[in-house]
Amino acid sequence: MKDSIIKVIRFIGLGFLEPLIRLINKEEPKKNTKEIFRKIIAPVASVFIFIGLWQLGSSALYNTEAEYKIATTLKSQGEAEAKNIKECMESGDPKCQPNTLPSPAQVYEAYKTLLKDHKAISADKEAFKEKTFEMNKKRVASGKKAITYTGRPSFVDQIKTSLKTVFAGFLLALFIAVPIGIVLGLSTTLRGSINWIIQIFKPVSPVVWLLLVFMIVKTLTKNSDGDSSFIISFISVGLCSMWATLVNTTMGVASVNTDYINVAKVLKLRPLQKIFKVILPASLPLIFTGLRITLSVAWMVLIAIELLAQSPGLGSFVWEEFQNGAMDSNSKIIVAMFAIGMIGFALDRIMLFIQNLISFEKETI
């Protein structure tokens, strides 16, 4: 029972809970208490220290900003107005708060607001669906387009859109980079002749990729009336992030252990058999390392690309909040930052999980 639980938590990447389970089972209490401190208590403490430092930093910034604001008012509008502003700030009135790094509490408030907002919008959507259900049925029956909800997307909707884009981009990278990587890995001639493309395009910035894709897609979609921003952003994400997989696959395939190659030769495997039974399994660990890098790069780049391409998603959420300049905009941006970070982390864990599932060599980091 205990062992199987430990196995499962290790498998899903929650290995840090292992000493706790062992301690509950009264196993080596001294060692496991130490382990718990090392693996659970110390990391949790670091979270509190982080929040504490953040609080200190934000209050220092708040004070600086507030003093500056009062000083400038004093200079330009006189003493009475400055006093007014100071009182206004102290009363906590949102309209005269200094605009700076929000404190942890403010960010938490913003998080709750966003969640509430999401619930409201979802309810609204539901209601809209119900209301238009009958009408849409008739419209579809008579050959017209159904009416869709065109209201503002909530924060959670933005996350979903971003995930969709990143997965589309990731799949594009996968389907381009892995086959090309295999071919390049197998042929020294091709590798030598195409290497310059990889070396030149690999370091190109996401922004430039976006512009390039924009140039091409804009022309190609001239006659269709659909929204091409999704296409542009996912293709850019794919092109930006595929290089890690391409290079790793090439490397992996080209550096398969000579022993395995000799086996394939001695057994006289046919080319396809050789690729699928020997070369691919042998290079799978490196291919997966590449795919993991690709996914994290895709997620990182996505935000910037959405921001520039004006396609819906977390990136445009951040940009809109920044432009908006409302009282809690800064806090919302920080919430988005944490969401981005955590989702990136989760994506990496998922990839690691899949890698462990299908790869013969176990990797833990």
Partner: protein, 280 residues
């Protein structure tokens, strides 16, 4: 009738150099059908290169490797190879590793026939209990057994063994020697064993040929092992013929070693320095 013939083989990995026999120099060898030949040599003497020339992984710089009177251009199912480091595919189970070899050797056989054959060979090397295990879960000896089964299941006319037992402990080694001999005796395939262990060669082979150490490795005079089979390890040590041949081979190899050491008589000038006195 010789099944395998090496004629004036020269091999270098660096053909631009003058010396065309940098690794192997003028190797001549002829192996009869059904014979068990051992090549004994120091490590680094070019044994593996020789094996790879015979199994078709490498081509000689000059000279011909003839198998059944045909020049060896490529690897073939007629020559089964047992590698020194087992070379099993770690992502396949024992069954799959052997099955993969069969797929290629007998593409026309039905699934069932193959299945029977795979199981037969797994049983032959005594690994039925480990059929579905991966190489990582097996000991070195077990892995080498899988490798033996994989080479034999293709029904090769000749088995080439490149230091197959080199990495194993003495006990496992002895067991596997017996097993390989048993299999060899059962259908009298031709066998070529490369080893660095004179006793192993004496116990297993009909004929022992030393490989003079490289660079410019070449084959020495052959030694016949006239001891009736099946040989008994325990009583072998008291066999006069065994003692005589073994001493001859060892004396020959020792001489070779001395020769090599004598050839390397460079002196080192030591600098004239004294330890400094750091005491107060």
């Amino acid at each position: 009738m010789a099944i395998l013939e090496l004629k004036n083989i020269y091999k270098t990995y660096n053909p631009t150099k003058e010396d065309k026999g940098e690794i192997l120099n003028n190797i001549n060898l002829s192996i009869k059908e059904g014979e068990f030949v051992a090549i004994v040599g120091f490590s680094g003497s070019g044994k593996t290169t020789l094996v790879n020339l015979i199994n078709g992984l490498l081509k000689p710089t000059e000279g011909e490797v003839l198998f059944k009177s045909k020049i060896v251009e490529d690897t073939s199912h007629e020559r089964g190879v047992i590698f020194q480091n087992y070379s099993l595919l770690p992502w396949l189970t024992v069954y799959q590793n052997i099955d993969m070899a069969l797929q290629e050797a007998f593409p026309k056989a039905s699934k069932q026939e193959k299945d029977v054959r795979v199981k037969e060979y797994i049983e032959m090397v005594g690994l039925t209990h480990a059929t579905n295990k991966r190489p990582k879960e097996l000991s070195g000896g077990m892995r080498q057994r899988v490798s033996v089964a994989r080479a034999l299941c293709m029904d090769p006319e000749m088995i080439i063994m490149d230091e197959p037992l080199g990495a194993l402990d003495a006990l496992t080694r002895g067991n596997l020697q017996d097993e390989i001999l048993k299999i060899w005796e059962r259908n009298k395939r031709t066998a070529l064993l490369i080893t660095n262990d004179v006793d192993e060669a004496m116990y297993m082979a009909d004929r022992i040929i030393p490989l003079k150490p490289g660079p410019n490795a070449t084959l020495g005079p052959e030694f016949k092992v006239n001891i009736a089979r099946p040989r008994n390890k325990a009583s072998l040590n008291d066999n006069a013929e065994y003692k005589k041949t073994r001493n001859e081979i060892i004396a020959y190899l020792m001489d070779l070693g001395d020769e090599q050491a004598a050839g390397n008589d460079s002196h080192y000038e030591l600098p004239d320095i004294q330890p400094r006195d750091y005491r107060w």
